[in-house]
């Protein structure tokens, strides 16, 4: 399979037979979140995990990131089994609230570098450059509460980019943004990531974002999560506003929706059973 920007010959992330069980909250049966999932992600590729709530897509992201040890199977990064966080190779973008409210924008980026072990004298320069790359250099001394939701996510993006990792894991980074801000942020992200050549895994609920940003979309089944289908988006990066308004974009989006619809219905059914 050919990916527009990636190097198809080099496997960067592997997921081998990963299953994961969450202990039941009170007594009952344990919850099987992931059921023997396999996948390969190539260097420079952007992939999305999409599926109904509770399908285990965030769990798989956290298995790849070393934040969760799977019940069985393993994630591999650069051929090595993942056994904990890999701060030199993997950076995360979380939802909006991951910016520290007591620190300035610049300090929020510097703190990531400090955790990663970058020497103190280098942090200021790297952080300032990262902030400039997302166009927020004028807000270095501001506090998160003074920024809009979209600006906050750009700061989170700058923090992740400043860590200079090969892999970027994004756990619903758009969840707290309104629709219009989401799309503009999506365009910014596409442009920035195209120049960075990073390997991206994006967990999202938004069909449009998945189509806009990614080369391949993994569609998950309802719980227990398995890969139902993989949708290829063969379109060069950076993706432009004209792609977003094209017929091809809506066709792909519709195709994705058809794949998802049954799973979402099944997930809603599961929840109903849980209620009765």
């Amino acid at each position: 399979m050919k990916s527009p920007v990636g190097n198809p010959s080099e496997r960067l992330v592997g997921v081998e037979n990963v299953s994961h069980c969450f202990p039941a909250p009170e007594g009952g049966k344990d919850v099987l979140a992931l059921d023997a999932v396999n996948m390969e992600i190539m260097r420079g590729e952007m992939v999305a995990f999409i599926g109904p709530s509770g399908c285990g897509k965030s769990t798989l992201l956290n298995v790849i990131g070393g934040m969760i040890s799977p019940t069985s199977g393993a994630a591999l990064v650069n051929g090595q089994a993942v056994s904990g966080p890999l701060p030199k190779q993997i950076a995360y973008i979380f939802q909006e609230s991951a910016l520290l409210p007591w620190a300035t924008v610049l300090d929020n980026i510097k703190v990531g570098l400090e955790f990663q072990g970058v020497p103190k004298e280098d942090r200021e320069g790297i952080a300032a450059a990262a902030l400039k790359s997302v166009g927020l250099e004028a807000f270095a001394a501001s506090y998160p509460h003074q920024l809009s939701g979209g600006m906050k996510q750009r700061v989170a993006l700058a923090r992740a980019l400043s860590l200079r990792t090969d892999i970027l894991l994004m756990d619903e980074p758009f969840a707290a943004l309104d629709e219009q801000t989401r799309m503009i942020f999506g365009e910014d992200l596409s442009r920035l990531l195209a120049s960075e050549r990073k390997t991206i895994v994006l967990v999202t609920h938004s069909l449009a974002e998945a189509v806009l940003l990614c080369d391949r979309i993994f569609v998950f089944t309802s719980r227990p999560g398995r890969i139902k289908a993989v949708l290829m988006i063969d379109e060069p990066h950076p993706r432009t506003p004209s792609f977003m308004t094209s017929q091809r974009f809506s066709d792909l989006r519709n195709e994705l929706y058809e794949l998802l619809r049954d799973e979402v219905l099944a997930a809603i059914g599961n929840d109903r059973q849980g209620l009765s």
Binding site: G65, P87, A91, Y92, F94, A98, L100, W102, F115, Q116
Partner: protein
Amino acid sequence: MSGAAVGMEGVTGRLSRRGRWLSFLTKLAVFVALMLLWHAVTVTEIVSPFFLPQPGAVLTVFWRILSTGRVLPDLGVTFFEFAMAGPLAVVTGILAGYLISMTRYSTIVLEPVISSLYAIPIIIFYPISIMALGIGPESKIAHGALFGFFPICLNTIQGFGGVDAIYLRMARSAGATKAQLLRRILIPAAAPTILNGVRLGLMLCFLAIIGGETIASLEGLGHRIVWYAEGMQMTNMFAYIVFVILIATVMNVCLSLLELRRRGA
């Protein structure tokens, strides 16, 4: 953050410049009105001047005990007791709170225990304190520290326990060490709640020391107030009361300022 922390209410919030002025003027007006009321009831002798001397007379005596230094020996004793008990309450409260907050299990098991102890009128232990430590400063220090301990400990548990998990995940994913986690995430996140507990704890500590002195003591501001009351020297007694109120007010203002500064921009 968690509104359940002790004393989280009572923060004036952010007022505009004009709002702050109005708020100051209102407070001043309340104070002046109280003074006028005091003056009125004493001049008209609605309340017997034997129980309630005129504010002017109290102010004169207040100035005399201040300018002659007559207040100093008692102030010294009370200050010494507070200087011992306050830091003792802060250090033990924060340390115990931090240790309890370290695991979910100890938080769930011990927090309700501390809460229930806090709900007990601690004054009932004062007789034990006197029997064990005598009527000197030691019993006041123990009593004051005990009073101050609980809100500080509870707010420390709340503060550390209430740190948003997303910050911890962010730090872990970026490779933070235990020390970095404490310094960069846990302490700054918990500080406002803990400082609120410290303010409340120190106020209670001071209150308990003065209270202890009034019950059984040979020196200190609280003792002097009772001593004058027993000697029917009401003007002197009120002068000392004004002095204690003044200290408590100044202390509250200082601690609130510290909290506001910490809260930052």
